[in-house]
Amino acid sequence: MDGFGGGPGGRGQGRLPDAFLRPGSSSFVEFLAEHAPDRLPGAVGAGPGGSAGTAGVGSGQGGYHHELAPHATTIVAVAFDGEAGGVVMAGDRRATAGPMIASRSIEKVFPADEYSAVGIAGAAGIGIELVKLYQLELEHYEKIEGSLLSLEGKANRLATMLRGNLPMAMQGLTVVPLFAGYDLERGEGRIFSYDPTGGCYEEREHHAVGSGSLFARGAMKKLWRRDLDAAGAVAVAVEALYDAADDDSATGGPDTVRRIFPVVATVTADGYSRLPGDDVAAVAERIAAERRERGSLA
């Protein structure tokens, strides 16, 4: 037992600032805004409520930013009832910077916590940073309070965080997340969509966001059925992404050469689980085979 008074010297960082010991909320974002606002995503040296100084400038220059920053594209979510309810979320793997493909293997669907998933479309860098902070926000709450937030609570929390990105959205660096989770109280999968200003809307049955969302929504309207089970919902999600990739240049289809397939995750009472790559490949190949057989031009 080698005691050393006051801890070892070395890179002494002194005492923790008082903010750490102040009784306050269980929100990590609020703590960050108070203690280290410069580390918030998209912060231009602005604290909470402070104007970023650049808001509203160049709101018409979206095109420019599309070339500057990689953009993530299509995310779909499909709710299912089956014997155990839940929700499937899937995202393609492409990120674009203007007409260029910035990444073929980006991942845009993440676990938000054990019982929810979040996918992002729009400015990839800001979106991924936002997701990272959001995951931490939920985990932080869970550790401090010792209990999970309700599903609406999680959805609203994401809306608040998105609102913080409004100055960046005004400059064309929009992030549009899609949130889906398993509601432990109701025992069903639920989907929430957002607009860039932080509006939060609950969706029924299925939803899609991103550049290919129009085509994906069209596909899901035709494919979704009330009696879908988990596997059926996965097939609907993958096929909707296939349709989106078919007609939207910014959405990547299944890449059989490099073996890159969409990220597909299911959230049920058992929690978040990502489908193994081989399983997704099998679904994607089956869909491609069916379409080949149909011989349609579409």
Binding site: G7, D113, Q135, H140, G146, S273, R274
Partner: protein
Amino acid sequence: MNMPFYVSPEQLMKDRADFARKGIARGRSVVVLAYDGGIAFATENPSRALHKISEIYDRIGFAAVGKYNEFENLRVAGVRYADLRGYTYDRSDVTARGLANAYAQILGTVFITESKPLEVELVVAEVGRTAEDDQIYRLTYDGTVADEHGHVVMGGQAEQLGRKVGEGWRADMTLGEALRLAVTVLGSSDSGTPRTIEPGQLEVAVLERSRPRRAFRRLTKQTLTELLAQEQGAEPGTGDPGEPGGVAAPQAVPAAPEQAEKEDQTEKDEQAEKGQGAEGTEPAGGTEPAGDAGSAEDTGPQGGSPQD
């Protein structure tokens, strides 16, 4: 003209130390000990919501004795410290050593400068990749840090109980053996005849080495009953999160262990970092701090503040 009484620094420090020690000794002890699959924390705590043992970060656990409001404040500070550090740098840059240093600074400064020292004693433990990498730090009210190996007891009669743990502890104990030792020792804290502590009266958590990300897990009453009842040698499933018969997940997350394992196999890299598995924490209902806890507990001289 009134001159203040002169009090020598030695006397002042001694008085403060005595005050803090008295406050801490009133609380029930916490036993922290390493077993073959990680680090176990155990204490007698009838409350389901007011924890003395908690999760700080992926591989770091926290245990405390003393005044609830004071160590709860330190716990929250630790969670903030760890989360901020992990967010600023990387999850792997959050270490028990850094956290112990931060706590030591707080405790040391309060001991010297404030009118009253913090009546708490803490353990910060981190489970490493191998047993050699495990770290257990014990922090006392004056900011002293001790790097412990294998086991530590704090709280009332810490020395006496620590000796007992030291006699019975081996590095390769299974979880069941380690917990039986811990509970026996906790039960012998009153100087009279040894008591048997019911599993419902125990708060037990482990940092499990084999978990992919968040290693902290509370043991439910049922799991605990099974583990404590087992005879030596028969030990199904401990340290293996995938085996249903052994250490079950917290009740609220029924399929979590299999879940975590499956994910670990299928996508090892990014996903593992991205925030899998909330299985580490058991939803424990609302944890409104201090206030209502105090009234139920026996009261110290601070008038109604909880003492363990």
